[in-house]
Subunit: 342 residues, 4 copies
């Protein structure tokens, strides 16, 4: 059985395992103070092209979202997100657990529009009793989104403008950032992101690491005593090397981008296969997640051969399926998939 169920079904890229093995006996200081963490941070800064950025490593996406949001918001502030945003739907209320409301805005293809945001904020501050409501302090966006879609540079710039006007921090969840950066259909670079966003993260877990996310604070705005925040949230690894070595490897010889590019090539071929078989795309996704609406009769053909994720059931006869590629997707996997399409 080959799996397109997600980009976290297989382990770590072999280079990462190799490096973990090579360094295994080196005694290193704990809690993220080791030399591999330092080296990885330096390489990430260099890749982005800004020397003064603050980089921190965390273990997973939900943890990162909750930690960033709660450490950068005042107690009474909330975070604006698309209604379909991961923090609003799929994190068991981790953000609310830190005491902050997720303020849901309407979305299109998983994205929020600068105009909707501006309208919301204008109306909000027109209300004289706005202090009885949750004061927005941050905008959360995903790039790619839950639907694999991407913001354009212009869209990011516009959202950033609105954020500045209303004193909102702009936070980008980059759990799948690599695929967004190497997509053929993007005009957004890492440097753009570092310019428009106040904080974002470079996802590791879904881009070849076994775990780990690299948070980047772009405006000399890392919360003071951030290590205390990490520890307080139970997110500080004693063997911090696990994160340092992984990101050091991912940002050596462009491995992060090679992994992303490979997965995107696989995704483009997958897309081509779907097109050739006349399948209906649920959404036009330029990244490694592809969504197709299929007749339920097709599901039997996949049975025992191909794994995918059931995304939704629009009616009794159809199902929306999600297929995801990753560093470990092979041409052979695609062939098995295609063979099922008859």
């Amino acid at each position: 059985m080959v799996s397109f169920a997600s980009d976290y079904t297989t382990g770590a890229h072999p280079e990462i395992l190799k490096k973990l093995g090579e360094t295994n006996l080196e005694p290193l200081s704990g809690y993220g103070t080791d030399l591999y963490c330092d080296s990885a941070k330096q390489k990430i800064r260099k890749t982005i092209g800004k020397e003064e950025l603050d980089v921190e490593f965390l273990v997973g996406g939900t943890q990162t979202n909750a930690l960033i949001i709660s450490s950068m918001l005042q107690e009474f502030e909330g975070v604006i997100a698309a209604e379909t945003g991961h923090i609003n739907v799929h994190e068991s209320g981790a953000v609310e657990y830190t005491g902050h409301k997720v303020i849901a805005l309407p979305e299109q293809n998983g994205k929020i529009a600068a105009l909707d945001l501006a309208n919301y904020l204008e109306t909000f501050y027109e209300d004289e009793t706005y202090e009885h409501m949750v004061i927005p302090g941050m905008v959360y966006i995903s790039h790619p989104t839950e639907y694999g879609t991407l913001y354009s540079k212009k869209e990011l710039e516009d959202i950033s403008e609105v954020c500045k006007k209303y004193d909102l921090r702009l936070f980008m969840d980059g759990a799948r950032l690599g695929y967004g950066l190497v997509s053929k259909q993007t005009d957004v670079t890492l440097k753009d992101i570092a310019e428009f966003c106040d904080v974002f993260y470079i996802g590791g877990t879904k881009v070849g690491a076994i775990c780990g996310e690299a948070v980047v604070f772009t405006k000399n705005n890392k919360p003071k005593h951030f290590t205390a925040y990490i520890k307080q949230h139970g997110a500080l690894l004693a063997k911090g090397r696990l994160l340092g070595i992984q990101f050091d490897t991912l940002f050596t010889d462009d491995l992060y981008f090679k992994i992303s590019t490979h997965a995107m090539e696989m995704a483009d071929q997958l897309k081509e296969i779907f097109k050739q078989h006349g399948m209906e795309f649920f959404i036009d996704s330029p990244t490694n997640q592809q969504f197709v609406t299929v007749e339920n009769t097709l599901l039997d053909a996949f049975e025992g051969k191909v794994a995918y994720t059931v995304w939704s059931k629009p009616d009794k006869e159809h199902t929306v399926l999600r297929f995801v590629t990753s560093w470990s997707t092979t041409k052979e996997d695609l062939e098995v998939l295609e063979s099922c399409l008859g």
Copy 2:
């Protein structure tokens, strides 16, 4: 430079890395639902000798403490701990962050006494307005403690009795449990722990894993929807295999106990070396952490050769040092250390 600074200075036991490599390409379901997690749980249950236990995997110690405590306490309840307990001192207030007070009791060598506990509780409930105070709902103990000391079976039994009388859950932090179990100076078995405690964890991070703790609920008392708790705390790994494979390996062919036994042999030799050199033990520790009070002049001898942890500075001429052994400690390491003692 050889390091006795802690049991988390080197990476994972080679068997673990090997297994991570062997399984790396297997597509597995995410979030702890994979077959290695299942297998590891089954092996842990078997090792303890009770088939009906609930086992869950988490990433690190502070995370585990906060999650267990907050999921097993009512909102208004607090957790009793030794004044020196890890949750009271070294977790950046992670327990309080979940809304619960740590109620500190006096300690001796890192342990709380059943009698002190009973006295505290008796006095507490004599106060008619006890609902204006924090109602104790749990007792937290570490085994081994911060000082490497161990509870005897009788001590555990007595504490357990007091807990039952006052409807308190008993929670054992076993971050270094392995060393406690194989120490020559213990009469406490895993089965005893499962009998006396309502919940405890088998530490991985400090006993050969790269990360990971195995939580065991012993009385059919795992909080309902525990996965939701884990996710809400940002503690759920997408690639849950990282924990499953590690614990599956640790509990195959007694690796967990072999690692612990090796470290204890090294610790016993270390102790012997200290004795032979007439060094003063700060505390009589039966596990892998050894504490000695040295004259500050000795510190120069270690410079650049041996790493340790400075524990405390009792006066201007003396320092208490902590030396810790682990799976990776070698005879050669001990020789380097001994050579410094002149």
Copy 3:
């Protein structure tokens, strides 16, 4: 200037002030343990007609909502409310501050429909990964709603059925309950409410008290150590008499209902005046809050004579105004209002 701005613009009903004066020098025990609290609880139980109910007094509405919700939910559970519900919009995120998500459902005239609720829950539990979402533990409804509207007995019964099916507690915010109970357009009694809801409160602040809400737990389900919860939330008054004496007075000689009936008579006359002047009702409200859509030119006529609340601005020429009656509204107030309508 006469005020219809809200039902909390004037002080307490004179009977309450009188009773506070008469009892002022009696030494009473603190923190809600005094005889007036006991007497008030007994009278409320008698009024509802169920002797075994648990009654507790709190100070204000937002406090009550947050306390009830957080004390009756498990840590990982959320509360379902209408998108326009007070807890979702106007409480500065007080519920989220306790760690729980407000799950917003579509509403009609401020009410949620049993069918929408059932559909939401069915879809929710069909998702195999529902533990990654916020598990609903409670339904919050207001009666009257923010729009002054009321649930019918049938609607309550249907919602209650859905709640039972999915193990949800049903919580009614009765900040303005009195007006709902005496409205000519209701078939819902206090006894019905006690039957269908797991917990509700009888609002004092907006029905003649200076402050105070009486919470009623209907199913022998008051959270254990509820006093500890109250204290922990900073909601326990040292001079608990302030609440006990007020509710004892409100539930003596039907004062609570007399106040409500008076306000409703004033509201009915207000409605009549609006009808006679051909004004357009924004919503058909059967209680003490009346909403009319007016041309902005009318606002000048009110200037300096009549106070109201601006509810919304549907377009540049029109404004929706809210007029509210209370225990202190007089015929003379209505005459002033009518005189402005020309």
Copy 4:
């Protein structure tokens, strides 16, 4: 039966009730925006003698402590308090509920010493891993303390110096501040307090009000959007007039000080009576709470005649009793008490 059980056994000072009655029909804006709140704030500023202070009204002491502490601390900071401090012992963990640890320091007669504070902080910051501990952000003191004792001006100044050195905010719980200010044994004025403390409150509940505490921010340091904090904590009264009118009355014609002075005269006479009867003082309290150690046989004499609070039971034959005076204590009360002493 006469009561010395506490200073919250009777209602409000008659002037307050009178004013509540006189203003009862005036329509006022809600949520603390009314003219009486404004007037009261102005009068408090004038009384302190600093025009630029920020004043806010809250309902009760525990609420105020939790709100001040959580709004003025960063998420990872804790608050230092005497081991016997109210927030550490008698508030059901309300501070921890907001996520912050109470760091307990040793105390003498309820007070912390500047030297102990300085030592604690010096040791704390010597530890290189202090970010793994709870970083102190505030010092909480009570004046008078739980034992009725008072800080001297020099003691306050010294504590303030240490706070400045370590960037700690200094917060004074003044639940019984009036008694401290008018005590014959104090050299501390309101102006001193406003100079040394960053924030403090002037207690109403225990000094003649039915409820209410007036918080004073002294360094232009009121947290931004403080109303949102108040609302989020469920502490905002719709009929905010209840607090405004009370404090406006208390700070008209020095009523607050007259009430305090009366209670202190009663306390001085009480002390004299105890001395004349050779009773043993448990502590030398210069304020309205007096503590005596009595033989248990004396308790029978009080039975049914005099109410007091049992403070502690040092041994089987003795009990420490607390007697408290207030605005409503009379000479006749004292006579009844004296008659019991035989």
